[in-house]
């Protein structure tokens, strides 16, 4: 998909935002800057592409816009512009539409949208039909309510015309239009046909917040019922008549290629149908996925080494360090005035590892290529990109590609990529039947488009009162944005994502210099969006370092932060709330500690305190996690709470255990035994406190993850005195030396210590 934003468009926005540091900069906000009228975007009104979309959707009598269909029997169907991957956006979207339309959530059915940038493009992400960047609610909050209101006004107008009464005397609730003075009522179905022939109202009035009947209530997710009885169809569950199953192996060395393949043993397995190849991968096709997997195991494959044969993690880290030293560095935030002379100087280096997404549903796509056509069944965050890639690979126009999108068994950014679907199309082109290609968990992890590796140097000068009077943060990394949405890069080459939550600090400081050094990864090592994106990295560095400064200044970490935050600011509000809820400052047992972190990513404000115990053997036990979230107007408090709960646990998994490492250019991790995930027995008590606010809605899906690592690292410091400068925690020994010696001694005595 071509990026639709003006190449020069980002800089003014970035500079404008950076002037107001602390306002809550977000990638999405930046991407909107400077974009002209050519940007596609959702509209509450009828658009050119609407009639075709409605025709494909059964031609219902009333289709006021791309989101609402009212059938003759009164059934209301809502079309979801973005995709559901667990974040409860289908529920949020339905609530925004239904609030103004005047129906209950129990009265609507939900449909996935077809791929269509013109109807469902997210203006906050350059106009593409993309679910990511915690933008869905932020980007749709106005348009979806307006879409509901437009539909309601037309339905009312149709009823009023039938009754020969004033529209203003009619009201709507639960799908019924009522004329109170006469007591007459009509259901939506009875006026759907007439409403469909009416002109759209010039203007509509949206409800005031006090009149909301749905928004702000903890409504049940619209996708819950099918998800508790196994009825939900994910991409992997598709059953296309005549389909066969493929198991795939791609060159373990990233950028390696396929050499000779001995197929003898595989072909001897009953049910193995075909063996098909690409430059860097081979697939075995079988009557079912297990047969295909057995066939794959039976292949004798020779891989040809590529350019990464000597690549390992330490080499990459060393290369980043050299780039950090040598530059060139792009400036993301310029200091005001000169750095004061003297003062106590504190400096640190941070290493942030690559991470896999590992969504529970392994990547998969079912593809049927026929002459001049291609049909794809999958779950994707970028439907129109999937269509474009399938069309490109098949050499056919996009109109000849049919995409059936599904519920996503987790995304976390992995399904913002089309690589697996592209591979499936390339394989399916070689066979006549529909082909379901499933990546094993091992393939899923070994061929992830990983979260970038980062190297940070950060330093500060403290004034006499211990407050920072100078701050210099230099980030070195590859770029996701530069590949994924090149038009989103600044004209000076700056990657706004790389500096998000680093350039915009919640602290009042003038002398702040934030820089980014671009260090491209080697071919084949493609870096991708990972839940929380830039802020997940930067908040861990910044909030760990602020903690370090507090201790260097001899101050309490909460008091220190409070002293450098603007009075009355929203981040200060969540900081104070968490400190109070966790009982900050109260006594804890030995080797227990609390850590705190605060930030303003994705247009929301979040604070998290984590309480840990670190055993003498160095095992981290999570005791409590207390979060406060100020995300402006809340559509569904249950969903917001769930996203913070889950986001924090996702962040804790990564911080404690996860790191992707390379040897000979291949990812060393492969499955949940060596790419660990937090389990329920390791989960702390989690409390989420929500701030009531009238501000515009902020993003929520990534906020909890982004704030977690520093809170954990700061808690570990409080418990042990060990300051972490590298993630994950598992890479640093937190044991008391004598405690490990005791274990070893016990072991030597052969008393059965495992």
């Amino acid at each position: 998909m071509s990026a639709r934003c003006d190449h020069d468009g980002m800089d003014p926005g970035r500079r404008a935002v950076l002037k107001g540091a602390g306002m809550g900069l977000a990638v999405a906000f930046l991407w909107t800057a400077g974009m002209g009228p050519a940007v596609a975007g959702m509209s509450a009104r009828r658009q050119d592409a609407d009639s075709a979309a409605a025709a494909a959707d059964g031609n219902p009598p009333f289709v006021p816009n791309a989101f609402i269909r009212v059938d003759a029997d009164g059934k209301v169907r809502l079309v979801m512009p973005t995709v559901e991957m667990g974040q409860a956006i289908y529920t949020g979207i339905a609530m925004m539409l239904a609030e103004e339309l005047g129906v209950g959530l129990d009265q609507v059915t939900i449909e996935h949208s077809p791929p269509n940038d013109a109807l469902y493009g997210q203006a906050l992400l350059g106009g593409g039909q993309i679910t990511g960047g915690s933008t869905s609610t932020r980007g749709q909050w106005q348009v979806l309510r307006e879409a509901g209101a437009v539909a309601r006004e037309m339905l009312i107008a149709a009823a009023a015309a039938q009754w020969h009464v004033e529209a203003a005397a009619c009201s709507v609730a639960r799908g019924v239009i009522t004329h109170a003075p006469s007591g007459r009522t009509l259901g939506f179905g009875a006026v759907a046909n007439a409403a469909g022939k009416l002109p759209q109202p010039a203007g509509v009035k949206l409800k005031e917040r006090k009149d909301f009947t749905l928004i702000g209530k903890p409504l049940r997710r619209v996708d819950s019922p099918d998800k508790v009885n196994g009825a939900t169809l994910f991409g992997i569950d598709v059953n296309v008549p005549g389909m066969k199953f493929a198991a795939v192996r791609t060159s373990p060395e990233l950028a390696g290629t396929l050499g000779a393949v001995d197929e003898t043993a595989a072909r001897a397995i009953p049910g193995v149908l075909d063996i098909i190849k690409l430059d860097n991968a081979v697939a075995v096709v079988g009557n079912n996925y297990w047969i295909a997997s057995r066939g794959l195991e039976a292949l004798q494959i020779t891989w040809k080494p590529g350019v990464n044969a000597n690549l390992d993690t330490q080499g990459l880290i060393d290369a980043l360090k050299r780039s950090s030293q040598d530059g060139p560095a792009l400036v993301g935030r310029k200091p005001k005035g000169d750095a004061p002379a003297g003062g106590k100087r504190v400096e640190a280096e941070f290493i942030t590892p690559m991470l896999a997404h590992a969504p529970m549903e392994p990547l998969n796509a079912t593809v049927h290529v026929t002459p001049g056509k291609c049909e794809v069944w999958t779950g994707t965050q970028v439907p129109t990109r999937v269509v474009a890639e399938a069309a490109r690979l098949c050499g056919i126009p996009a109109e000849a590609v049919t995409l059936h999108n599904h519920f996503l068994g987790g995304g976390f950014g992995r399904r913002l990529e089309t690589d697996q679907v592209e591979q499936a199309v390339a394989f399916a082109k070689q066979v006549a039947y529909p082909l379901k290609v499933i990546w094993s968990r091992e393939e899923d992890i070994r061929h992830d488009r990983v979260r970038p590796l980062y190297f940070d140097r950060i330093s500060a000068t403290l004034g006499d009162d211990g407050k920072p009077v100078g701050w210099h943060h230099r980030i070195t990394s590859g770029t996701v944005l530069g590949r994924w949405l090149p038009g989103g890069m600044g004209k000076d080459g700056m990657d706004s994502d790389a500096i998000e939550s680093a350039a915009d600090l919640p602290y009042v400081m003038d002398n702040v210099l934030v820089e980014w050094v671009r260090h491209d990864m080697p071919p084949g090592l493609v870096v991708g969006w990972w839940r929380g994106v830039g802020p997940t990295h930067n908040l861990w560095v910044v909030e760990s370092f602020i903690d370090e400064l507090a201790h260097a200044a001899g101050k309490d970490p909460v008091a220190y932060r409070r002293a450098i935050m603007a009075p009355g600011s929203r981040p200060l509000g969540v900081l104070d709330l968490v400190a109070s809820k966790i009982g900050w400052g109260s006594a804890l047992p030995a080797r227990c500690g609390r850590g705190i972190a605060v930030g303003s990513p994705f247009g929301s404000h979040v604070c998290l305190a984590v309480e840990v115990e670190v055993t003498p053997q160095g095992i981290v036990k999570l005791r409590r996690a207390v979060a406060a979230i100020d995300n402006g107007i809340t559509i569904n408090p249950s969903s917001v709470k769930a996203q913070i709960e889950g986001g924090v646990l996702f962040g804790l998994s990564a911080a404690l255990y996860s790191g992707i490492t390379l040897e000979h250019g291949a990812i060393q991790q492969s499955n949940f035994h060596d790419y660990r995930n937090l389990r329920i027995n390791e989960t702390p008590l989690v409390e989420v406190h929500q701030v009531q606010s009238d501000e515009a809605p902020g993003g929520i899906g990534e906020v909890g993850t982004a704030i977690t690592a520093p809170a954990l690292a700061n808690a570990i410091f409080a418990a042990t005195g060990i300051r972490l400068h590298q993630m994950p925690v598992a890479h640093t020994s937190l044991a008391q030396p004598d405690a490990l010696k005791q274990v070893a001694d016990t072991g030597n005595r052969g008393e059965g210590v495992a």
Binding site: G104, S638, T683
Partner: protein, 164 residues
């Protein structure tokens, strides 16, 4: 030909005896509610019941099932524990992406069948084999307590919210 009793119905399947039950259910019988997550019994997404006991179907050869009754997520609602668990899951909106939830619900229903009033430690022991990447563990714990006791144990969601 192997005969499996799945959710109370006999199913004849013509498959190799070493084929894992997971793939027999998904690709042959056509019950896709049971999920593939890791293939090595690390994640629990493939959990089903054999005579009411939870097993990881990705590691269970179909020939090892014998005449034991197979219950999957599609059939668990017919048991009293399954109903309670599903109702609690709905009341607390446990699910997020939902992909692991078939396995979570199967493990939880089996727990309640053998331990009607589980402690937190019982929950840890019974549920630690089920990974959730979305991180729904907080609500899973609450929902199991709620299913066991019938007492609300967390933020209860409402189905509609419109005034009557």
């Amino acid at each position: 030909m192997i005969v499996l009793r799945v959710n109370g119905e006999d199913r004849q399947v013509d498959v190799p005896p070493d084929m894992p039950l997971l793939w027999v259910l998904r690709d042959i019988v056509g019950l896709t509610g049971t999920k593939f997550g890791c293939g090595i019994a690390q994640c629990g997404a493939c959990t089903v019941h054999l005579d009411g006991k939870p097993v990881r179907s990705c590691q269970l050869a179909v020939s090892a099932v014998g005449d034991r009754a197979v219950t999957t997520i599609e059939g668990i609602g017919a048991t009293s524990e399954g109903t309670k668990v599903q109702q609690a899951w709905l009341a607390l909106d446990v699910v997020q992406c939902g992909y692991c939830q078939s396995g979570q619900i199967m493990s939880a229903a089996a727990l309640l069948a053998r331990t009607p009033h589980p402690s937190d430690a019982d929950i840890d022991a019974a549920m630690s084999g089920n990974i959730c990447r979305c991180g729904t563990y907080v609500r899973i714990r609450e929902a199991i307590h709620q299913a066991a006791t019938g007492t609300p144990a967390g933020l209860q969601v409402i189905v509609d919210g419109s005034p009557a």
